[in-house]
């Protein structure tokens, strides 16, 4: 959209800015893809094992994702639980 307005006024965006924009997108994608599925599955199992000590949840409701914010990458994990085991009571 912004490009078309600029074009209306006869100003093409510099090709160097286009290059930079495209690179930022593709490199984000590349980096996210490097965390491969096998690693994510393993992490999923290991996290579930630890969390199962405290919470009750069904394994197939768990969602794990990577996303980017600014210069950092964030691992987001959703573990919807049905019950909290009160660890203090048990001991």
């Amino acid at each position: 959209m912004s490009i078309s307005i600029k074009q209306l006024f006869g100003r093409k965006p510099k090709s160097s800015s286009i290059a930079k924009q495209r690179l930022k997108l593709v490199i984000t994608q590349d980096r996210l893809e490097q965390v491969d599925d096998r690693v994510m599955t393993r992490l999923h199992h290991e996290l579930a094992e630890v969390l199962a000590k405290y919470f009750e949840f069904s394994a197939n409701s768990v969602k794990m994702n990577l996303k980017q914010e600014g210069n950092s990458y964030i691992l987001v994990a959703d573990f919807p639980y049905t019950k909290f085991h009160d660890v203090n009571v048990r001991q």
Binding site: K14, S15, S16, S17, A19, K20, R22, L23, K24, V26, I27, D30, R31, Q34, N71
Partner: protein
């Protein structure tokens, strides 16, 4: 103990061999003892770029196969004190060498020299792994174009996983004119994308091509912009603080001048 630095890039043809030859020579000119190691087994070029091709007798492969002592395999560059080359075998391929074997060679060389610079082959496979196995630092060479920068980022990830640091960037074949008219990314753009430290910018310089033709590294030609850039990088490698000139600023100035010329 000397420093082992791998010169690498991901994408081919961006100036790794040129940079290794010139930085190795420049460091020797600054009175450091240096070995440049060609890790491009099967496609060796560092010898011819440095003009030492006629004097190669042994290669790193002969050292690994115990056909010859490491010291005997080093070719002395007679033009400057303290500069040696360890050539790569041309009749073998990259799978004939193990990363541990390269590491053993680097560990030995660092006991007798201030700097060991390793000229890595392009790519992210075995050749790159061999080249980086013995390194504690890296220099990434890239040109300011999309494919070279994308591949550089991939290599940076691999180096970080291998705990190789610092990773310093050499931005090669920079054209102030193209940056000035908006058709080439400048150093700030590249750093913004790659997020590593810049150790130098080498301009596009036809002297690189003629010096390669002759087999005399460009740093011997004091006046050329490429030689000056490589000398500055070598000084920074030795810990001297030397600001990186703003080539883009000069480009802008050039463009303004050209605009006035055209108007006349």
């Amino acid at each position: 103990m000397g420093r082992v630095i791998v010169v690498t890039s991901g994408k081919g043809g961006v100036g790794k061999t040129t940079s290794t030859a010139n930085l190795g020579t420049a460091l020797a000119l600054l009175d450091k003892t240096v070995v440049v190691v060609d890790a491009d087994v099967g496609l060796r070029n560092l010898d011819i770029v440095m003009g030492l091709e006629s004097r190669i007798v042994y290669t790193s492969m002969d050292v690994i196969e115990k056909q010859c002592e490491l010291n005997k395999a080093l070719v002395r560059d007679r033009r400057v004190d303290g500069l040696m080359l360890l050539a790569a075998s041309q009749k073998n391929n990259k799978d004939d060498i193990q990363p541990e074997q390269m590491k053993a060679i680097c560990d030995k060389l660092r006991t007798t020299h201030d700097f060991v610079l390793i000229d890595s082959p392009a790519g992210i496979e075995r050749g790159f792994r061999n080249a980086s196995a013995g390194a504690d630092e890296a220099i990434i060479v890239t040109t300011p174009d999309v494919s070279a920068i994308r591949d550089a980022d991939r290599i940076i990830g691999l180096l970080q996983n291998a705990r190789i640091e610092p990773i310093n960037l050499v931005l090669n074949r920079f054209s102030a004119e193209l940056v000035g008219n908006g058709s080439m990314m400048d150093q700030d753009d590249v750093l913004d994308i790659l997020n590593i430290d810049l150790i130098g910018v080498v301009p596009e310089d036809s002297g690189v091509i003629t010096s390669t033709n002759r087999g005399i590294p460009l740093v011997y030609e004091d006046g050329s912009p490429g030689a000056q850039a490589y000398m500055r990088i070598a000084r920074r490698l030795t810990g001297q603080r030397i600001p990186i000139p703003d080539f883009a600023q000069k480009g802008l100035l050039n463009n303004i001048m050209n605009w006035f010329k055209k108007k006349k």
